[in-house]
Symmetry: C2
Subunit: 408 residues, 2 copies
C-alpha cells in the first residue's frame, strides 16, 4: 500500500531499520505469564530525542532517561511493565539507576547511552530481584528477527489488548530509509507532550536538533491528539532513535527529501496514536473527531479534544446513538470562539446539523454507521481556517470494570 512519498512496510517492526535488535521476556512483575521486561539495542550510538509527560509527578525512570539523553545519543532502552516506578521517592530513583546500570552491563553499552522506562501501577516499589533477573536474561533474547520485536512489543503492554507497531520506508538521497515504532497505552491516556510509552527506530542519518524538532511537531499532531479518559500519566515517554546506517546524507529541514521523511515520520506517530485510542480501556471502536472552520489550528485542536473527551459523547457512540446534541454541547464548552449559528455536524457522511439547525436524517442509516468499528465525527464551524483531528474511543461497561479494580 502506497502513501504519498512513503511506503507502508507490512510485517515491518522496530528491528526493520538497520542496526536495531530487540527482545523481551517474563521476569515476574505481572501476575500473568505475559512478558514484562524488554529492551531495544542499537549496534551504533543512535541520534536520539524524547518527549515526556507534563504531569508534575514524573516517574523516576524519566529522570534517568533525561540524564542519559543530555548528549542526544542512546544505544539501548530498557523497559518494564506491571509497575510504573512512580511516586516511589528516593528508593524509586535508586531502582531506576540500578535498572540502567544492569542493562548497560548486560547489553554491552555505556550507562549514559541507556534510557529507562516503566509502566504499570503507581506508588509501589519495583521488585528489583525480578527486574535484575530479567535483565540478566535479555542478552539471550535480544535479536534482529521479527520475533525479537514481537517479544519487546508484548513486554511493554499493560491493560492493552493488542500490540501497536508500524513501519514505513521512504527514499532519502536515493537510498531506502526505514522508520518504525512500537507503543503501549490503553488507560490514563490524555497525553500532553508525549503519550504512555512509544519507541521509534529509524536508520536514517539525521541531525539531533532536526530529529528533536520533528519529534515534537509529529507528537503534537498524533499522540497529543488522542484521549482515552482525560487522565495524563506520570510515565508518558516517547523516544526516537536513528542509527544513521541507511547511508543517506544527514537529514535536516533544508534537505530536499525532508518533507517526505517528515511525512513518513508523522505517519508512524499517527498510526501508533490511533492504535492506542482504538485499544483504549474497554473500547469497542475508534472515534475520530475532525474540526474545521475554527479561528486557528490551536482552537480547532482544543475543540476536537473537548469533543473526543466528552463522557457523554463517548457513551452515545458506544450505544450507537446519533445524539449530536452532546457533540454541540461539548463544542460549546470548549472555551474557544464559535459562532452559535453556523455550525455543521456530520457523522461520517450523514449530515445531522446544518448552520446550527437540526437536519432530519435516516435513523437506521445512522445506527448502522455508528455500529461500525470506526466512527468519524466532522464539525465545521464556518468561523475561520483552523483545522485539527483528534482520536479517542467509546466509553463502555468494560472501561468501568477494568478501572474499578485495576490495583487489586
Amino acid at each position: 500500500m502506497s502513501k504519498v512519498g512513503f511506503t507502508v512496510v507490512n510485517g515491518g517492526s522496530i528491528v526493520t531499520p538497520r542496526g536495531f535488535t530487540a527482545g523481551g521476556l517474563h521476569c515476574g512483575l505481572k501476575n500473568t505469564d505475559r512478558n514484562d521486561i524488554g529492551a531495544i539495542r542499537c549496534e551504533v550510538e543512535a541520534t536520539a530525542a524524547a518527549v515526556y509527560t507534563t504531569n508534575v509527578f514524573q516517574a523516576a525512570p524519566l529522570k534517568v532517561t533525561r540524564e542519559s539523553l543530555v548528549d542526544g545519543r542512546l544505544q539501548a532502552v530498557v523497559v518494564n511493565s506491571g509497575n510504573a516506578n512512580a511516586c516511589t521517592g528516593q528508593q524509586g530513583e535508586r531502582d531506576a539507576y540500578a535498572m540502567r546500570a544492569a542493562a548497560a552491563r548486560e547489553l554491552g553499552v555505556a550507562e549514559s547511552n541507556v534510557a529507562v522506562a516503566s509502566t504499570g501501577v503507581i506508588g509501589e516499589h519495583l521488585k528489583m530481584d525480578r527486574v535484575l533477573g530479567g535483565i540478566s536474561s535479555l542478552p539471550d533474547r535480544v535479536n534482529g528477527e521479527s520475533d525479537g520485536a514481537e517479544q519487546f512489543t508484548q513486554a511493554i503492554l499493560t491493560t492493552d489488548l493488542v500490540k501497536k507497531e508500524a513501519c514505513v520506508a521512504v527514499e532519502v538521497d536515493g537510498v531506502t530509509v526505514h522508520i518504525a515504532g512500537a507503543a503501549k497505552g490503553s488507560g490514563m491516556i490524555h497525553p500532553n507532550m508525549a503519550t504512555m510509552l512509544a519507541f521509534m527506530t529509524c536508520d536514517a542519518a539525521i541531525g539531533q536538533a532536526a530529529l528533536h524538532q520533528l519529534l515534537k511537531q509529529a507528537t503534537d499532531n498524533s499522540f497529543n491528539m488522542i484521549t482515552v479518559d482525560g487522565d495524563t500519566s506520570t510515565n508518558d515517554m516517547l523516544i526516537a532513535m536513528a542509527s544513521g546506517l541507511a547511508g543517506n546524507r544527514e537529514l535536516d529541514a533544508g534537505h530536499p527529501d525532508w518533507e517526505a521523511f517528515a511525512e513518513a515520520f508523522t505517519y508512524i506517530c499517527q498510526e501508533l496514536a490511533k492504535a492506542i485510542a482504538r485499544d483504549g480501556e474497554g473500547a469497542t471502536k475508534l472515534v475520530e473527531v475532525s474540526v474545521s472552520g475554527a479561528v486557528s489550528d490551536a482552537s480547532a485542536q482544543a475543540i476536537a479534544k473537548t469533543v473526543i473527551g466528552s463522557s457523554l459523547v463517548k457513551s452515545a457512540v458506544f450505544g450507537a446513538d446519533a445524539n449530536w446534541g452532546r457533540i454541540i454541547a461539548a463544542v460549546g464548552r470548549a472555551g474557544e470562539p464559535v459562532n452559535p449559528d453556523t455550525v455543521d455536524i456530520r457523522l461520517g457522511d450523514i449530515i445531522v446539523l446544518s448552520q446550527s439547525s437540526p437536519v432530519a436524517f435516516d435513523e437506521a442509516e445512522a445506527l448502522s454507521y455508528l455500529r461500525g468499528d470506526t466512527v468519524r465525527i466532522i464539525v465545521d464551524l464556518h468561523h475561520g481556517n483552523g483545522t485539527a483531528t483528534a482520536w479517542g474511543c467509546d466509553l463502555t461497561y468494560d472501561y468501568v470494570r477494568i478501572n474499578a479494580a485495576y490495583r487489586t
Copy 2:
C-alpha cells in the same frame, strides 16, 4: 439540627418562605407518567437574580429569562422537563416566548415577570400543544402546601432518581427569614457559572445588587464546584427570588446580619449542589475532594475539580479501590503549581501518602471506608494557603448504560 447562625428546617420546601406557591403535573413531554411541567409563583414581585451556563450554545429559554430579568424582578417561573428546547433555532425561541405568555396569562402575572426554563433532550422541538395544555392546568395545581412544592420538585427531574431540596431559617433584624431551594441535575453536570436547573425562594427583603452578588459568590462555592461527567449543559440556570415578606430591613453587605444570611444562603446552594452530585447518573456514592495548601483558592479549586473529574479516580471509588496513584496523577496534571515532594493524601481519616511518599495502610479498613455512601479525599499540598472543596460521584456501569441510550 443547628448550624452556626442558621437552622435547617426539616420538611421545609420552596413554599416555606412567605409569599411563594408552587405546583406541577404531567403534560406528556416525558414517555413515563412523571411530572414534566411546573411553576413557582410569588404573590408579590420578587427581587430576583440568576446565573446561567457559559456554554456557547445557550438554549432558547435562557434568552427569554434574561429578558424578563432585565429589571431584576420576577413573579413566576415556568419549567418543563423532557425537552431542553436547545439548538432549536427560531422556532425554539418562539416556543419559549409562547411558554412565557401562556404562564403569565394563566398565573395572572406580567409577562415580563416570568422566567422560563427547560431541561431534557437537545435539538428537538417542543410539543407545544402538550406544553400549553399543561400550563392551562397549572392554576389548579399551584398552591402553598408542601404537596405543591413536591409536585414542582418532581416536575423538573430528568434522569434524576431523587428530588433535591433544602430549607433553612435565619434571624435578620430579629425576624425569622427563610431560604429554600429546589434543583435538578444528574448528567451533563460540570457547571460553569450555574448548574442545570435550580430555583431558590426567600422571604427576606434584600437589595437586587446584593442578591446578585451573593448568588454569584455562593454559586462559585457550590454549583460551580460539582461535576458528574465534565460536560457543561446548554441549559444551566439558577434563579433566586426574594419576596421581602419576612419584614426585615433590606439586606445588603453592610447589614449587621449579612454574614449569617450569606452563610445560610450558601448552605442551601451547597446542599443542592451536593444532592446533584450524589444523584449523578449511575452514581452509588457522593465523593468530596478537599484541597488545602495550594498557592491560592483558585488554584485549589482547579486541582479539586481535576481530581473529582478524573474518570480513573471515579472508577476506583466505584470499585472501592484505594488507588491513590490516580489521585496524585490527577493533581499533577491540573496545570497548577504543586511541589512534587510535599503532598499528603488521606481517604477519610486514612493516610495513604505523606510528603509524597506511600504510607502503609490497612487495606481492609480502606475497603470498608470506600464502600460507604460518602467518600472524602483530602489533599494537602503544603505549598500555600489556598483551599477548596469539590463534589462529584463515582463512575459506574449504570452511567454508561444510561448514556449509551439516552435519546433513543
